[in-house]
Symmetry: C2
Subunit: 252 residues, 2 copies
C-alpha cells in the first residue's frame, strides 16, 4: 500500500476511538459487499446455476460457523463471555424444536433446487471455499482470544449487505421466493447485537497500539476469508474455469 | 462425477497395484500441469509482472514446505522414517554453508527484480495462496500419518512439469537467466527419490480398501492445494481482479 491508495490509513492507534475508526475504514475498503460477484448477485446479473453455486459454497461457510464459535467459546475461562458467545451457536444450530441459521440456509438451497444430501455432503464445493473457511476455524484456535473475537467484526457491516441482498434477489430472480430468504431476515436482528458486543470487547481489551493493530489485522484476515470465497466463485462460475471435481450447473 | 467423466475411476482398491493405478489416474486428471496458468507460463504467454506474481506467491508455498515436513516428521516414532523424511527439510533449508531450495527460489525472485525483503515478508501474496498452503500444513498435522505421507505424492508428477518449465521459461522469457532456474534443476533429482519412498510407503501401509481410499483422497486434497494457487493467480493477474492489499505489478 502506498500513500494515495484508498486503503492507506496510518493514523496512530492510540485510543479505542482510533481503533474503531480504523476498523470501519477496513470495512469500507475490504468488506465483500464491494466484490463484483455480489454486485452481480444483487443486481440480477447471475443465472440460476451461478446462484446455486453461490448458495452451495456458502453453505460450507454457514455450517462451519458453529464450529468456529465453539472454538472461540473454548478460549475463555470467563463464564460471562462464554454465556454471551453461546447464543451464536444457538442462532446457527437452533434447538431440538426450532430451526437455526443452518436450517434456514438449507431452505434457500432447497428453493434453488439443490439436493439437500448433496449440499450437506459439501462434496461439490470449491476447494478454495474449504481452505478459506477452514482457515477461519484455525485462526480462532491459534491466535489470541482477543484476535478470535476481533475476527467476527465483519458483522458490523453485514446488515446493509443483507438488506441489499434481500431486496435485490427478490426483485431480480423469479426462482427466489420470499420464504427462502428468512436466513438474511433473521440476521438483520442477530448481527448488530453480536457486532456490538464484539466491538465493545475489542475497544475495552485492546489497550496498546500493538494490540489494536492485532485487532485490525484480525478483521483484515476475516475480510480476506470472505473475499477469497467470492473470487473463487467468480473464477469458476463467471469466468467459467470450474476446477476438477466441483459442482457443475446444468449447461456449464 | 459421472460415468464418462474423465475423472471417473471406480476400480476396486483391492491391491497395492490398484492403488498405484488410481494415484496415477488422479495425477493425470488433477495435477496442476493441466492448469491454463501453467500453459501460459511455460508457453511464454505471460508478461514479466505476471511471472513476478507467480514467483512471489509460490515463495510462500516453498518456504512452508520445511514446516510441513517437520510436522510430518513429528508424527512418526519410527526413527527410520524420521531419518528418511529429514532430508526433505535439508533439501529446502540447506545447511549453514550450503544453500537449499528456499534460497534457490529467492534467486529466481531476485532475478525477476523483486525486493527480497518484500518477498520474504509474504505481505503481498494472495490470501488464497496463504489459505491453501496453510491448509496443507494443517492437513499433515490433523490427518493420519499415512495420509500425511500420501499428500506428498504429487512429487510423482513433478519431474515432467519441471523439465517443461525449465525449457519453456528459458526459451520464451528474456528476463529469465539460466542461473535462476537452479531450483527446478535440483528438484529433477530430489523429487523422484522422495516420491519413490512415499509411494512405497503407501503401497506397503495402506492394507485395506478404506486406507487406500484415504491415500487417494489425500492426493486429491494436495492436487487441490496446488490448483487453487493457480486459479487465484489466474483470477488476479490474467483476468485482472487483484484482491485488496495484494501485489500489483507495474502498470496493473
Amino acid at each position: 500500500m502506498t500513500p494515495g491508495d484508498p486503503e492507506h490509513d496510518d493514523a496512530p492507534l492510540d485510543s479505542a476511538d482510533a481503533l474503531e475508526r480504523r476498523l470501519r475504514h477496513i470495512g469500507a475498503t475490504r468488506y465483500h459487499n464491494l466484490h463484483p460477484f455480489h454486485h452481480m448477485l444483487h443486481g440480477g446479473k447471475l443465472n440460476k446455476g451461478q446462484v446455486q453455486a453461490w448458495a452451495l459454497n456458502r453453505f460450507y461457510y454457514q455450517s462451519s460457523i458453529p464450529l468456529k464459535d465453539a472454538v472461540v467459546l473454548s478460549r475463555f475461562r470467563n463464564r460471562q463471555i462464554r454465556l454471551e458467545w453461546r447464543h451464536r451457536i444457538e442462532d446457527h444450530d437452533g434447538n431440538f424444536d426450532t430451526e437455526g441459521g443452518i436450517e434456514r440456509w438449507l431452505k434457500l438451497t432447497d428453493g434453488l433446487g439443490l439436493d439437500r444430501a448433496y449440499v450437506e455432503s459439501t462434496a461439490g464445493i470449491l476447494p478454495a471455499t474449504r481452505f478459506a473457511v477452514d482457515a477461519y476455524v484455525h485462526f480462532v484456535r491459534d491466535k489470541t482470544p482477543l484476535e478470535a473475537i476481533a475476527s467476527s467484526l465483519t458483522e458490523l457491516f453485514a446488515p446493509n449487505l443483507h438488506e441489499e441482498r434481500i431486496a435485490g434477489m427478490l426483485r431480480h430472480y423469479d426462482f427466489i421466493q420470499p420464504g427462502v430468504m428468512t436466513y438474511f431476515q433473521r440476521r438483520l436482528e442477530q448481527a448488530p447485537r453480536d457486532a456490538n458486543f464484539a466491538l465493545g470487547y475489542v475497544r475495552d481489551h485492546a489497550t496498546t497500539p500493538e494490540a489494536r493493530q492485532a485487532v485490525c489485522d484480525a478483521l483484515t484476515f476475516k475480510t480476506n476469508v470472505l473475499w477469497v470465497q467470492l473470487d473463487a466463485l467468480y473464477h469458476a462460475y463467471v469466468t467459467g474455469m470450474i476446477p476438477p471435481g466441483a459442482f457443475r450447473p446444468e449447461g456449464m
